[in-house]
Symmetry: D2
Subunit: 288 residues, 4 copies
Amino acid sequence: MSRSNDTWILAAQCPSRLGTVDVVTRFLKERGCYITEQQSFDDRLGERFFIRTEFRPLASDFDAEAFQADFATRAFEFEMDFELTPPERRTPVVIMVSKADHCLHDLLYRHRTGQLPLDIRAVISNHPDLESLVTGHGLPYHHFPVTPETKAAQEARVLEVIEATGAELVILARYMQVLSSEMCTRLSGRAINIHHSLLPGFKGAKPYHQAYEKGVKLVGATAHYINDDLDEGPIITQGVEPVSHADYPEDLVAKGRDIECLTLAKAVSLHLERRVFLHSKRTVVFKR
Amino acid sequence: MSRSNDTWILAAQCPSRLGTVDVVTRFLKERGCYITEQQSFDDRLGERFFIRTEFRPLASDFDAEAFQADFATRAFEFEMDFELTPPERRTPVVIMVSKADHCLHDLLYRHRTGQLPLDIRAVISNHPDLESLVTGHGLPYHHFPVTPETKAAQEARVLEVIEATGAELVILARYMQVLSSEMCTRLSGRAINIHHSLLPGFKGAKPYHQAYEKGVKLVGATAHYINDDLDEGPIITQGVEPVSHADYPEDLVAKGRDIECLTLAKAVSLHLERRVFLHSKRTVVFKR
Amino acid sequence: MSRSNDTWILAAQCPSRLGTVDVVTRFLKERGCYITEQQSFDDRLGERFFIRTEFRPLASDFDAEAFQADFATRAFEFEMDFELTPPERRTPVVIMVSKADHCLHDLLYRHRTGQLPLDIRAVISNHPDLESLVTGHGLPYHHFPVTPETKAAQEARVLEVIEATGAELVILARYMQVLSSEMCTRLSGRAINIHHSLLPGFKGAKPYHQAYEKGVKLVGATAHYINDDLDEGPIITQGVEPVSHADYPEDLVAKGRDIECLTLAKAVSLHLERRVFLHSKRTVVFKR
Amino acid sequence: MSRSNDTWILAAQCPSRLGTVDVVTRFLKERGCYITEQQSFDDRLGERFFIRTEFRPLASDFDAEAFQADFATRAFEFEMDFELTPPERRTPVVIMVSKADHCLHDLLYRHRTGQLPLDIRAVISNHPDLESLVTGHGLPYHHFPVTPETKAAQEARVLEVIEATGAELVILARYMQVLSSEMCTRLSGRAINIHHSLLPGFKGAKPYHQAYEKGVKLVGATAHYINDDLDEGPIITQGVEPVSHADYPEDLVAKGRDIECLTLAKAVSLHLERRVFLHSKRTVVFKR
């Protein structure tokens, strides 16, 4: 949020090696780019380097394409993956929901007020319930009902929408269908899911009922990337709320809603600001 | 803590039934007992009633024994279990430790300053390391080393100490031996353990290393009563701490220490103030 | 929330005196009312007693009027103020806003989903901006612009709406006008305000800018009743969020929005569940 | 903590200007220094740049003096203040206390276990109470009683101890004397104080009693550097704890102890790891 309107982001990762920071900062210096915020981390167990830089080009005729092409040459030498994000870019997304509307409602609000720089291309649901909420925001709503027989076909339609709309990110805002492992693989690293428990605490269905049975004194939510093993994808952020003996399962569900909204919104915000780096089964998250 | 020096506690539980609150409050009224704080809860799923009352006898010649005997008669009718705790009573305890001293150190400090009304009768360890810390506080230290061969014999010695000292509560302050199921059954509901994870998240050994592998963004600790299934005993309280990608397993261990100390101390405090009620696999905790 | 659909609430306060709990619980017992949850507190400094009881009448022909009349007789003897709240009652409210919509948006969502048992009779604003949001929910919107000259007249119109609609509670959901002291007195104890700081930390205007100047590492919000001294009314609940040097004033404003929404919603929920007792300059809040 | 044993820290600040990051990272690259973690921030309102770099010299014969001298030349051009901290350095400190021992006890424990890399040169108190605790740890204890008449003389003796011991940091661990403004100026930026409130909420004496009067629902503690205006020095970190109506002033004092210990320890840790940068009335804190 604090990014001013002329600030670019360069996010990169590569194998650990001497000179990884220098290759980025020297390039920016040479191009007259003013660094306003920078974080880097070298993971000594994973032997991998991560860096995120916010900068402001001082020249009025900053040529992003030339920047990208020239930096690619240097990055190549370090086997560095990088992404350059312009100021005020809105990331194209598709949101998937079922019947519960709290996370969707929250995302739509943050979208509308500009808190989250989203370009929502479509909302997909396996139920018709939330159509008017979505179309009321002037957004397309796709209702793809799922039965055991139609599941594969419907996932294909979901992928079509994602492709056709050019969505770079899929947000599973309480989509209650288990995705096939093919689908998970296809969306790996490009889809954020909100799971209503402190993973790996209560995997699978009805986590609040599981939590009640165990008599836990804290409930929480986990926002994570999808990978091939559902409920085991790399965690982006987690939120937590105290509960008591007087909270019945339906109370835990209700109490959980706020923390689900906040945790998902935070994860999406971190992702959109290119603060999250995915590597193997873990994430590096450069918070402010 | 806010209890003034003349305040008694009556804690009780019984099957759900009309008149459960009245049987307590009417009795106190009749005896001229002034109620300063009261909480009750009727668990509609468990069909069980819990009540905790702090009161001050107005008469200077309050006869606790008569109170106890007379109330027992009424309680009997409701199948009510109750406990009457006098002002400023210190609960006799035995503490068990291994090598890590942070929880013990914290408990000894709170004991010495009167924050926790403990009467520490003995400290038992399977290692010699913490002897001078304990004896320096003028407390007896028992070193009972454990090997697979001696385990049963050593557990018998532990039970002997507990019995001989009249300890009503056993505090497992990072005791790193798995207790036998006989031992667990013997101590069921009378022993509080601190587990260094957000149970049921990471059971068993090295939970912080498990947490690192999963890349969680929160670590925590769970204080629970021992029952026959280790790591599954009824939870009293849980604490949590944010962590990041930059925390290696040894950092998680270090960060976890503070939250372990605080969570254990809080659970012990709640127990000593008779705020925790154990029923089946869950607890009712009346916080202030 | 956990209240089942047949649960009544009896909330009462009176001067400290022997038998205050008994007068409530005995009455309920006599009437065949089953107590599901009860909390009482006797404030030894303020010498005042507070009690909140949830109960379920066992008889199918529960006569609330008779209950009320008969209990009034007993309460009179103890100078006890009490309120009886039926199951599923929706409290009539008027909401006041200015231009910022986040708290209003949040309240409307919780209203629509039934999380908050509100009966919103009107929304009043000194600006026209939020009209379509409100009328889109089928609720009346009153735009009463305020200038130094019209202030008194406009406050009179606000009071008219409150009276005409029978609102029992006024929610100031980021209403940015300073109320006159007459208005404050009129609404004393019947209006909840959200102040965007950890009162008494940063009173007055632009608290987030004040917080930035001081370089605080936590920002927060305070929900409180209005009384004659604005920003000094009795506090109901407070929320807090960590911030850093990288948060400029506009970031603090943005970060504060979520905590303002949550803190106000929590305070309103506590109020509606009759968990908040107002006495002098402080509140007693019986949380679950 | 995660710093491995061969990691140096370079911390620097200077006026905002193009090339500030590059001047650091290029130098490190040229010297064969491997950067493991780096954070920088350019404050656009304060127009000041801050950077903290952890690095590991790859050469076995790293010459710190040459590094320091050579870097000074480059830093000079940028008006850059910098500090180079070797691995495993223990910062020499003097701790000041009065009668309350909780913060001191906590610091001594973290000192003894190596959690805080402190070299405690002396403990100074205006009371004799904590002498045995300190000398029991083999540390010198200076008892300098303070009366209005002797205040100036005693402050002079304190400064003598600080100078004679070579202490670089003074930790005011609940030292209950108001320092003279000369003393504050002398210690400006070199002394960390723990104030038992969420500054600027309750300045001055008895903050918990002030908090009780106001009926706040959160209490907290603030660790800050001393400057010439006591209770207004730049804030390093703040902690917070929920409280209720049932907490009398003495309960708030008791509840506050844990948060005071944790907040002070955290601030000291951040300072020792060179994560805190002081500029004007605010701090920049690079957390992990």
